[in-house]
């Protein structure tokens, strides 16, 4: 009896049992930071879409009621008890979940993180919504696409020391040669304060009367810049673009101050996380540095040295799809 139990345990540890015993559905748990957040509800929608495509997958959409690591640990413990096949988690804490997730992996459960990651020892891979080079390219592309003849653009960032924004702007400058005729005339900083960002945007329009676009890779800045452009009566003349949330930018899209902007698509993110969890749990793909894992309609993700991968370009929102997303997040 004993050797058999050992064999079973070993099989489970390699995830063979999960794949082998499944005349039933594979159960993939999508664990989110907290229930009731539009962004994650949308991700769950994407996960259901993936489950529908795969056919034999059951999605368990769950999470704590508030955004705490303790709550998530409880949820994950109960998932381990239910012997789910895979857990895809957007973590409330990088380190706090590691012991629990390790326990899950020891029981043969496939564990990945998405959106907000956990430390490498607590997951098999992490799915980032996008990557810095993709974001850098996207923000200048958004401006350039509306300027076929070229033109002057300026960047309205957060603070001078905001790491993310600085990296994105650097990545943007690297690909500027791909967009001939587009001149970056200034980079200003609104400190992620509505009033300062508004004033900086006003200043840009005064200093550069021929300005064609303001790129704001920050959600406070892009909203303030759109308001400043609207108040200055320069809608149609100056296009505000960058990174923002559909709920916050719906007004600017409606007024025309912003033609388009980008941010990750939560539906795609939930879809991709489910596909990856399925492929890993199935044994079709393996999470290792340099490996590629299938993401269904979104292609493949390639893992880096930390077993992290980037899903896709940020998703572009404009007047055609803003209404579908503005109530989601």
């Amino acid at each position: 009896m004993k050797p058999i139990a050992k064999l079973l345990a070993t099989a489970a540890a390699f995830g063979l049992l999960a794949g082998g015993a499944s005349a039933e559905d594979m159960r993939i748990a999508l664990v989110v930071k907290a229930l009731g957040i539009g962004f994650f509800e949308a991700a769950a929608k994407g996960a259901e879409e993936a489950a529908g495509e795969l056919g034999n997958v059951e999605i368990i959409y769950t999470g704590p009621t508030d955004t705490t690591a303790e709550g998530q640990i409880e949820v994950i413990n109960s998932l381990i008890a239910q012997k789910v096949d895979a857990i895809a988690v957007s973590a409330n804490d990088t380190d706090a979940l590691v012991p629990t997730l390790k326990k899950a992996m020891q029981r043969g459960i496939t564990v990945i993180s998405w959106d907000s990651g956990v430390a490498p020892e607590g997951r098999q891979m992490h799915l980032n919504p996008s990557s810095n080079p993709l974001i850098g390219n996207m923000i200048i592309k958004l401006a350039a696409d509306n300027l076929p003849e070229g033109g002057d653009v300026a960047v309205l960032s957060a603070t001078t020391t905001s790491t993310n924004q600085n990296i994105w702007i650097d990545e943007m400058k690297k690909v500027m040669p791909d967009y001939p005729g587009i001149n970056l005339v200034a980079t200003v900083y609104g400190d992620d304060l509505a009033d300062k960002s508004y004033r900086e945007a006003q200043g840009l329009m005064q200093s550069y009367p021929d300005l064609d676009a303001i790129i704001a890779p920050t959600s406070v800045g892009i909203v303030a810049a759109a308001q400043a452009v609207a108040d200055a009566g320069k809608i149609g003349q100056v296009n505000v673009t960058g990174l923002g949330l559909p709920s916050e930018m719906a007004g600017a899209i409606e007024s025309g101050a912003s033609k388009s902007f980008a941010i990750w698509n939560p539906i795609d993110l939930g879809y991709a996380a489910t596909m990856i969890a399925y492929n890993l749990a199935n044994g079709d793909d393996e999470a290792a540095p340099g490996a590629t894992i299938g993401m269904g309609r979104l292609g493949e993700v390639t893992l880096d040295d930390n077993n992290e991968g980037a899903m896709a370009d940020p998703f572009v929102y404009d007047s055609s799809n803003i209404d579908d997303f503005k109530d989601i997040f």
Binding site: D195, E200, L204, S247, E248, K326
Partner: protein, 325 residues
């Protein structure tokens, strides 16, 4: 010479010099239309500085103004999302009332429990911010969720000036009248310059301080609505750190932190001085890395002038005594 001793005249001169300097680098800045927009942009700071001045005059300080502004703003914004048809006049009255209520909380704690105002308002500042998080659930209220009349009101123009600017002018006029022509105004000065003497003349110092907090709160509440309507967005961190700008405007305007000394014109000019700098820095092509340093230096220089002006008075007496001898 005696004119120069007045802080207000000095400030007007400094602001004029500043404008000339900016115009030399960016002529468009002194175009009438731009000056109007600078004045409008500074309106919230001016209104808040008026309330802060009253508080500082009574030897207190109100660090909760920005949080009060943000909480009132969030409340009226949320109210607007559920009742978009509410007339703007009612919204404004509600904002003023709510702000005054929060000011009264500060005032009562200072008056009845005699807790130092800096401690009280530091506490209420964080409490107000916390309440915003609770009522908004950390979510933003966005432009498309607010009604057009709600966000449009401060932008309506009357005789070439936006209503936001007119409201600031009205607040300045009301405050000037209050400080110079009412019992309350005079007792605010008395309570600040010599609380003991004020008590002997029958002025209840604590009650006066409380009244000053209510004024400051009411003005912060009013600004709360104006701010949210102007920037068309409400979230927890709105106007974060703005209380320091407000105190700086008062100090630059010659309102003495020790209480009892200060004028409405001074506070307004102090706010305008900061407003001109804030609006000019983005257009004169100064590296953003220097902007904070320049703003800070301007404040220090202004305060240094303040101290020097105070000292010079003493020297003049000594000099004249020497001459006499």
């Amino acid at each position: 010479m005696s004119i120069l001793k007045h802080r207000e005249t000095l400030l007007v001169a400094v602001i004029a010099a500043l404008l000339a300097l900016i115009a030399s680098r960016f002529p468009g800045f002194v175009a009438p239309q731009n000056l109007v927009s600078v004045f409008t942009d500074t309106a919230p700071l001016m209104i808040l500085a008026l309330g802060q001045m009253a508080v500082i005059l009574t030897r207190c300080i109100d660090l909760s103004v920005a949080a009060n502004l943000a909480l009132t703003g969030m409340v009226v914004a949320l109210l607007n999302t559920v009742a978009p048809g509410l007339p703007v006049a009612v919204t404004i009255l509600l904002a003023i009332g709510l702000g005054a209520l929060m000011g009264a909380v500060n005032g009562l704690l200072v008056w009845k429990l005699e807790i130092p105002s800096i401690v009280v308002t530091l506490g209420t500042m964080t409490i107000f911010r916390g309440i915003i998080f609770l009522i908004s659930d950390g979510q933003w209220v966005n432009a498309h969720e607010m009604s057009a009349s709600f966000t449009g009101f401060p932008r309506l123009t009357l005789l070439g000036l936006p209503l936001l600017a007119w409201i600031a002018i009205a607040a300045i006029a009301a405050m000037a009248l209050n400080m110079s022509r009412t019992t309350l105004g005079r007792s605010i000065f008395a309570a600040g310059s010599n609380p003991h003497a004020a008590a002997y003349t029958g002025i209840d110092v604590g009650r006066t301080q409380c009244a000053a907090f209510v004024i400051s709160g009411a003005l912060a509440g009013l600004t709360g609505y104006l701010w949210i309507a102007r920037y068309a967005v409400a979230y927890v961190d709105i106007a974060g750190g703005f209380e320091l700008d407000v105190v700086a405007a008062c100090v630059i305007g010659g309102v003495s932190i020790a209480g009892g000394v200060g004028t409405v014109a001074g506070a307004v000019l102090g706010a305008l001085f900061l407003g001109v700098i804030k609006n000019a820095l983005p257009v004169v092509d100064v590296s953003p890395f220097w902007q904070l340093a320049i703003s800070g230096a301007a404040i220090l220089i202004a305060v240094a002038f303040n101290a020097r002006a105070g000292r010079a008075k003493g020297r003049v007496i000594l000099k004249s005594a020497e001459h006499a001898a």
